[in-house]
Amino acid sequence: MGGTNSTNLKLKLKVWRQKNPQSEGHFENYDVDSISSDASFLEMLDVVNNKLIRDGKDPIAFDHDCREGICGSCSMVINGNPHGPQKGTATCQLHMRKFQSGDSITIEPFRAKSFPVIKDLAVDRSAFDRIIASGGYVSVNAGNARDANSIPVPKAKAERAFMSAACIACGACVAACSNSSAMLFVSAKVSHLGLLPQGDPERESRVLKMMRTMEEAGFGNCSNTGACSLACPKEISFENIADLNREFARASAKERA
C-alpha cells in the first residue's frame, strides 16, 4: 500500500517468447528497475510491457482478467513454480515484495501437450472445458427443480463439496505435475458433485466420461507426488485424487457394457 516498507526493485527477467502455436519459442532477457515492492506480479509485467510498446517492440502476451485470484486466467510458471513461490496464491495476487532487488526471475508458460502455447505466456486450456462438457454437471433443466430445502445436505459434506468446487480451472495442477496430469482438476469436480445428493444419479457415468475425456486430451497419469495440490492457488486437497481413483474403479466395476 505504498506503506513505509515500500522499496524499489531491480530485476533480471528471463521470459519465454513465442509468436504463435506453430513457431519455436525462446527466452528473452529484460532488465527492469524501479519496480515497487507493492506492485503485483502482473502489474510488474504491465510496466515491462509499456516500456516494450514505447520501444516499438511486441509486448509480452499473457492471460489475465479479474486480478483478484478467482477467474483462473493467469497462468505462468515463475522460477519453476506455477503462480510463483507463494502457496495458495494465483499469479495476480502474488506481490513483488516476495522478491528481492537483484533477483533473476524466469517466466515460462504452463507446459503440457494438452495446453498448447497460443502466444508467449498464454496457453489454450480448452481441454478443461471439454472435460466439463463430457460430464461435469448435474443434468437438470431449468424449471425442473424442487424446493431447495427439500434436499438436505449435512453441513460437513456441503463444506467438503464447497472446498472441491472452489477450483478455478487455472491449470496450475497440470503445470506442476511431472506428468502433466489433470487428475486434481477432474477429481475436484467429481468430488464436488459426487459428495452431494444432487450429483448421485450420474455418479458412475460422470467419472467414467470425465476420465476418458481427460485421457483423450493427452494429459498424463497421476503418480501421487502431490505437486498439484502444492501449486493449487485454491489449495484443493490431494484427497480428491484418491477419491477419484476409488470412484473410477467402482464405476468401472458397475459398468454394464
Binding site: 502466444k119 498464454a122 433443466n141
Partner: protein, 644 residues
Amino acid sequence: MAINLDSKTPGGSLEDKWSNYKFDMKLVNPANKRKHTVIVVGTGLAGASASATMGELGYKVKTFCIHESPRRAHSIAAQGGINAAKNYQNDGDSVYRLFYDTVKGGDFRSRESNVYRLAEISPNIIDQCVAQGVPFAREYGGTLANRSFGGAQVSRTFYARGQTGQQLLLGAYQSMMRQVAGGNVELHTRREMLDLVVIDGQARGIVVRNLRTGELETHAADAVILATGGYGNVFYFSTNAKQSNVTASWRAHKKGAAFGNPCFTQIHPTCIPFSGDYQSKLTLMSESLRNDGRCWVPKKEGDTRPPEQIPENERDYYLERIYPSYGNLAPRDVASRQAKYRVDEGLGVGPTKTAVYLDFRDAVARVGQKGIEEKYDNLFAMYAKITGEDPYKSPMRIYPAVHYTMGGLWVDYNLMSTIPGLHVLGEANFSDHGANRLGASALMQGLADGYFVIPYTIGNYIAATKIGHVDTNHDAFKAAKAAAQERIDKLLNIKGKQTADEIHRKLGLVMWEQVGMARNKAGLETAIRDIGKLREEFWNDIRVSGDADNLNPELERAGRVADFLELGELMARDALARDESCGGHFREEFQTSDGEATRDDANFSHVAAWEYTGDPGITGAKNWARHTEPLTFDRVHLATRSYK
C-alpha cells in the same frame, strides 16, 4: 428517427402480470425451435444461464465470449451472495417485501413490473441452483443458511462463503457445457463482438474478431442476445475485471439501441485504495466488514502518526457521528460519499492521502482475534496479501471504488432493446436496479434473466415476428465486416506515441473527478470538453503495437478504450441532464443543507433513454437525443430515504 420506448408491460395487477404474460405469449412448436438460431454474446451468469436454458428448450444457440473459457466471465468474482424471497428464516420476508426493498433501494428509478417479476422468480433461482449442485452454505440440520445484507431488514441472502458468484457461475457454465456436448449450443471462445448487424430493422447477426487468429467472422441468427456486463471500467480504476468493457453494448447502441440511464453508477465504499502509478485495478472488500469495522479519520489535518498512536479523542468516527442510528452500516452510496468528503477536506490517510481507516481494534477487543478470524479470515488474508500489512494489528485503509453500473441498454418487459430482436440481459441492461443496486441483487437479476425470463420472451418474439431468411452473404454483413476491418486498420496505422492504457488512465481520471461520486454542472461540462479532447488525442496519437493476425491484447484494448471515450461523454451528458440527486447519482446542486440527496420526482421520475443520432464513425458533440420513459408507481409510495 423516433424510437419506441413502450415498456410492453402486460396488463393485470402487479402480482398477475408475469402469469398473464406467460399465458398470453405466443409459443414456438418444439420441432420448430431447432430451426431458429439465437446468438448469445457473453457467458457470465446471464449469458451462460440463457444459453443453457435455450439449448435445453431446443433452440440452436451460438454463444460467444472474449475469454479463453466461458467460466472466466467476471460474474465469477462476485463475493457476497444472492437474494431470494424464500422466507426460510421465518422473519417476514415475501416476494412483495423483496420487490419493495429493491424499488426503494433503487431510489424509485426502476420499473415496478420488472422488479416484481424479479422478486417473483427469485425463489426458483435458488431451487435451480441447488438442483445443479451449487454448494451453498448450510445449517447443521442440512437446510440452507442465510445472512443479511445492506438495505434489507430480513435475512434473505444465500451464499457460498465469499465465492457465491463463482459457484453460481460454475452451475450455469456446467449446464451450458452440457448443452455444448449435446450439440444444442455452439461455443465460440476468444471472440470479441465488434458490430451488430441490423437488417430490415431487426437484429440479425454479429461481427466478431477471433482474438487468437485475428480473423473477422460473421454470424447470422434470428435473434441476438447481449449479456456482456457493465461498463465500470470507463473509470479505469474499478473493481471490474481488466477485460470487462462496453464494446458490444456500444456497437449495438450505435446501431440503434437506446442507452438507459448511463450515469447511474454504483461506487462501493470498501475497496483497497489506490497505491501507486503501476496499479491496474482496485479490489473490493466485502460490505460485510462494516458489521465489525469502524470508519474513522484523524481530526487534525496532516496527522502523520501511525493510526495506533492516535488517541481516541483525536479520531473522527464520522459515520457514527453523522448517522447515529445506522452508523457504520449506512448504505453504499452514503458511506462512499462521506469517505470522499473526508478526503476532500484533507483528512485522508495513507501515503496518497486518499483513504480512510476501517478499524477492527474494538471488535478484536470485544470478541478476540479468533472471533474475527472466523468471520472474515479470507478477507483479512486477501488484504494482507495485497498490502503486505496485518489488519489485525493496524486498521485497514479503504476507499470507495466504482463497482457496478445500473445503467445499460434500454429494454422493455421482454428484455428487448429498441432494436427488434436484440435482447439484453444482466448488468448490460438498465432494467431492475434503478439508481442504486442493493447488495446481492446483481446475481439474482443475471440468473433471473437467463434461466426464467428470456426463455419465454425469446419464444414470444420468434413466434410473433416475421423473420425472413438471411445469411452472412447479405450485404449488411459484408458492410459491417468491412467497417470493423477499417477500424482495426485505422487503429494500427496511427502509430502515435501513447498507449491505449495511458489514454484510458487519463479518461478514468476525468470520469472519477467529474462524473464520479459527486457531480456538478460545471464539472460535467468540463468533463464533456475534456473527453472530447482525449478522443481527439486518441485518434491522432494512439500507438498500437503488433499485428492484427494473432493474439494482440493491445489492439483489443485500443478498440475498447475508443468506445469508452464515447460512452464517457454520454454518461456526463446524462448526469448533466438529470437535475436531481438519486441513488448513485449525486448532483451537488441538489442536496439538503446537511449533504443528503434531493430527488425531483415531479420532473425526473423517468428513465432517460439516449438515442444515438450521429455518424457511426468517430463521434463529435451532440450525437445523442434524450428520450424518456415515464415511471409510474402504482404500488410503492415515493418516499425520501433517511438513515439518521
